[in-house]
């Protein structure tokens, strides 16, 4: 490190950071410590660290997973009003499938959440999607009825939109309620009070036009992608249906 220091003498004054330099691999072996021991120490430390983490993970993972599932469930139920149950469908080779092929990783596939009625009819599909809004990615989930093409509901999962302005996309009830009123898709955003009364219209929020339009765009884009898939038909729900129900 010395030679660097000397060669960069002109830079030294600019470095005010306490430099925690990992100089382990640079120090010549003048000391008695052997490489083997260094590696061994790190290996043991690593193993211990790993063990500790694994142990705690065993303990926390169920809690975390449960919470996540709970959150997802709440979100799906919110955008698919009246549902009490849903199934996850994966997009496999352009078709929906209620189960994954053996050994496949869940995260490799896009998915939707489908709610069935008692009779096995598809009540609605919940789709989650994120796109750039005003500040950063806006992640939403929305419910959609594939038979009528109407929206069932919408919930913002994650957004960093401007507080007091862009965050009205989930704080302004009047805006959010429009998505629960069953508008037809594809949606069009209009300035509040300037609409022509079409069933596809969503009034944007004054002062937060971009954020409002982002929500509308996300839904439209998601549907552009999913409509063809959904129109092919949704395979019947897997066996997880409550006992006694018969698939038709």
């Amino acid at each position: 490190m010395n030679e660097q220091g000397n060669n960069n003498g002109d830079n030294e004054d600019t470095l005010v950071v306490e430099s925690p330099v990992p100089d382990d691999q640079q120090v010549p072996a003048t000391e008695t410590v052997s490489t083997l021991r260094l590696v061994a120490t790190l290996a043991i430390a690593g193993a211990l660290a790993g063990l500790l983490i694994v142990l705690l993970n065993q303990h926390t993972k169920p809690i975390i997973d449960k919470y996540k599932a709970e959150q997802l469930k709440l979100a799906v139920y919110e955008v698919l009003p009246g549902s009490e149950h849903y199934n996850t469908y994966y997009l496999i080779e352009g078709k929906l499938s209620p189960s994954l092929p053996d050994g496949a990783k869940e995260n490799d596939y896009k998915r939707v959440y489908v709610s069935h009625s008692k009779s096995g009819q598809v009540k609605g599909v919940a789709i989650s999607r994120g796109e750039s809004g005003f500040q950063d990615v806006v992640q939403i989930i929305f419910g959609f009825d594939p038979t009528t093409g109407k929206l069932l509901g919408m919930k913002v999962l994650d957004s960093k939109e401007t507080p007091g302005l862009g965050d009205k996309i989930f704080k302004d009830r009047a805006f959010v309620d429009q998505f629960f009123a069953g508008p037809e898709t594809p949606l069009t955003g209009v300035k509040a009070g300037m609409g022509k009364g079409l069933p596809t219209e969503i009034d944007t929020i004054t002062g937060a036009t971009i954020s409002s339009k982002a929500v509308i765009n996300i839904i439209n884009h998601a549907l552009e992608e999913w409509r063809p898939v959904l129109d092919q038909g949704i395979p019947p729900a897997p066996t997880s249906l409550p006992e006694g129900e018969v698939q038709q």
């Binding site: 007091g164 302005l165 300035k191 002062g207």
Partner: protein, 338 residues
């Protein structure tokens, strides 16, 4: 040396008539018609807003300014007036005052006062207000009734929200950007100022005249507004011709804060580049950014951000556009066959 009457100074022994103080006050002077017009259009509200923002600047300069006489140089006055001119007429006065204080303190005094700042203090104040009170600053009440009636809740209590009960009107830029019927306000209206908008956004004509007066007096570098206009016109014209944007180029030039920004904010000597070459680059950058932000950005108006961003680049531009000393040849020329 009994007969020595003389004082000893270094050459040159004569000076041009220009002086910083003179420049500053003639800028204030050239703003007077614009101010008068804004009061004519918006009534007493305009006057109060300008008063509040200017008071914020003057008070701050007086309290924290680097030297006692610094109020007399007129720079704080300019900052206050310019800040006021970028605000909507119904803006709560306490916010206007706060903007003046912030712009002056963190835009100028903290850098050491006159001549030392990096960002245009008026725009620092404006950017602060835009970020702090995004709703209030984008609320343009529709003109209502008599001339003397207030435009919105000017007298909202300090730190309290303004109560807007009147109908709001969009600015020409907002109309075109967010309106569904895409109203292109006729350029003649923009030119004469018979539109809604912030105090200084209207009456392009008066600003143009004031700017030309200053340029004629040598108190602003005409390269900057010219390059901004040329760039804006060309870039927005290109996008308009290609059908990418709905903004006609002339509309682009005369709407929003373009005129005020180009003539009075971008040309702030302290925060613009030194050399004319640098000024061209600077103006080009502003013109380009403003078109980009107006067409694709989240806000209808981009002049303020375009200028602030280019302000930040000015030290870099100054570095890059060091003049070539007389008689020295660039490397390229040296290599060229003789």
């Amino acid at each position: 040396m009994t007969d020595s009457i003389v004082k000893l100074t270094a050459s040159p022994h004569v000076r041009s008539d220009d002086s910083t103080v003179k420049i500053m006050w003639s800028v204030v002077l050239s703003l007077l018609p614009v101010i008068a017009a804004s009061i004519w259009f918006f009534g007493p509200s305009a006057f109060f807003v300008l008063l509040a923002s200017t008071a914020g600047c003057l008070v701050t300069e007086r309290l924290f300014g680097s030297h006692r006489g610094s109020l007399a140089d007129g720079s704080a006055m300019i900052t206050g007036l310019l800040l006021g001119l970028t605000l909507p007429p119904g803006f709560p006065l306490w916010m206007a005052f706060l903007g003046g204080v912030f712009g002056m303190a963190f835009g100028k005094i903290i850098f050491g006062g006159l001549g030392q700042n990096i960002f245009n203090p008026a725009l620092v104040g404006r950017a602060f207000l835009q970020a702090a009170f995004p709703v209030a600053i984008t609320t343009w009440p529709a003109k209502s009734g008599q001339w003397w009636s207030l435009q919105g809740d000017n007298f909202a209590l300090p730190f309290m929200s303004p109560v807007v009960d009147t109908a709001t009107a969009a600015t020409p830029l907002g109309h075109l950007k967010f309106g569904d019927d895409s109203v292109v306000t006729p350029v003649i209206d923009l030119f004469l100022g018979t539109t809604g908008g912030s105090l200084g956004e209207t009456s392009a004509l008066l600003i143009l005249l004031g700017g030309i007066y200053l340029a004629y007096r040598g108190h602003l570098n005409w390269h900057i507004p010219l390059s901004i206009f040329v760039t804006t016109f060309a870039v927005s014209g290109l996008f308009f011709a290609l059908g990418i944007s709905q903004f006609p180029p002339l509309f682009m030039l005369f709407s929003g804060g373009m005129m005020l920004g180009a003539f009075y904010m971008a040309t702030d000597m302290v925060t613009s580049p030194l050399s004319n070459k640098g000024c061209w680059l600077f103006g080009f950058g502003i013109g380009f950014l403003v078109v980009i932000i107006r067409i694709w950005g989240g806000l209808p108006e981009g002049m303020m951000y375009a200028i602030l961003l280019m302000n930040a680049l000015v030290p870099f531009i100054n570095r890059a556009t060091q003049p070539r000393p007389f008689g020295s040849v660039s490397k390229k020329q040296e290599e060229a066959p003789k």
